[in-house]
Amino acid sequence: MPVEKKYETPLLDQLETGEWPSFVKEIKAAAENNAMANDLLGLLEQSYREKIGHWKHGGIVGVMGYGGGVIGRYTDLPDKYPAISHFHTMRVNQPAGWFYTSEALRTLCDIWDAHGSGLTNMHGSTGDIIFLGTRTEELENVFSKLTAAGFDLGGSGSDVRTPSCCCGKARCEWACYDTMGLTYYITNRYQDELHRPAFPYKMKFKMSGCPNDCVASVARADISIIGTWRDEIQVNQEEVRNYAKSGLDITKEIAMLCPGKCIEWDGNEIQIDNSNCRHCMHCINLMPKALAPGKDRGAAILVGSKAPIVEGALLSSVLVPFIKLEEPYDDLEIWEVIENMWDIWCEEGKNRERIGEFIQRVGLGNFLDAIGLEPQPEMVAFPRDNPYVFYEEYFEEEEDQ
């Protein structure tokens, strides 16, 4: 049903020019038949004029029984913009790898046109399909139509957040394990943890198929699963020569930039000292036709990255240097490690303490003790350089041991 234009938007209009696709055009397109999108235009223009946002956080709204998946929002100008007096976001769990059929997309659009603003994010930073803005009483309607169409809500709050992954084996020759398969498995294994927040704070999984880490798991997942291999890089010398012929300076652009300094090129053949390869992907990235990760493939598991709030930002660090990730996933030993981690974090963690902060507070060594893993040199960049070792046990003269 067409909606009449309500607002002049001289500032936003300036963002309709230029070659990059314009979000203002998107909101205007939706506003032609959606009163919420129309009021959003008015509100956003006011924000641009005043240089301030006009939203209040809503902490209680959700669908029945779930503690995640809905972000509550109310404008602080409800009388002026009544259509967006409520403007709650719904996070819809994306299919792994973000593949869709046109039919699935149209189904999602139909649901959102009937019950929301007609505006989306494809996708949110965590990976979910974001339905941007609806009223409290519409949440259940959207939810029931979504589940009827085979979709469910993703996570938000102190729960397992919607896991996401790179396209992996679906379209990438470098995938060292089946990222999409594992992501689907993890998402289903932890449905309860995803929908019913029971942790001190959020818990994110991200799966990348190789050390290029296309989903930035090392920077933004509490549990980062990054594909790698432990045998020799596969080499096709003929193709290496072809790259050289086509102008690639193998010594300068590859051997000299190799962090393991383990490549030599004699103008005819490339030699790789695989025992010193750091698995950085640089040489493979530059010669995809000639080089490939080895055949003994799996992943490294890192834990603990997070954004700065509260105790400062962290990158994930190595917990498991190498693991094979093959079906049946049920039989993998990492679930026990992960669930042990959660137990101790729930038991001892402070409110809003991410697991990375928790590990820093108690110390990685103590954390390993608690979850039953042995320390390994791969877990540190270097051993300690301060001599203040707190030994937990020492001998007394009297005791005869």
Partner: protein
Amino acid sequence: MALDIEKVKEAMYKLVKDSAGMKKWKATDLHKACEELFGDEYDKRGIGKDAIKELVEEGKLVYTYFGGSYLEIPHKEGAAND
């Protein structure tokens, strides 16, 4: 004698209700309190988890998000518009 889930639910509901406005309870806090109340019989992964699930599905408690997830008695929040 097995612990009765209704008793656990009642205890949890009372904890939340009696401190409404004063303290916000996370699921882990409720588990810790119930471990004190019921001792070894209380299993947070079994009966504890089920009790919370039922309380929420019955609408007696609701999950909220204020920088962290909590369980609260349903109420109208300060930010809500009509």
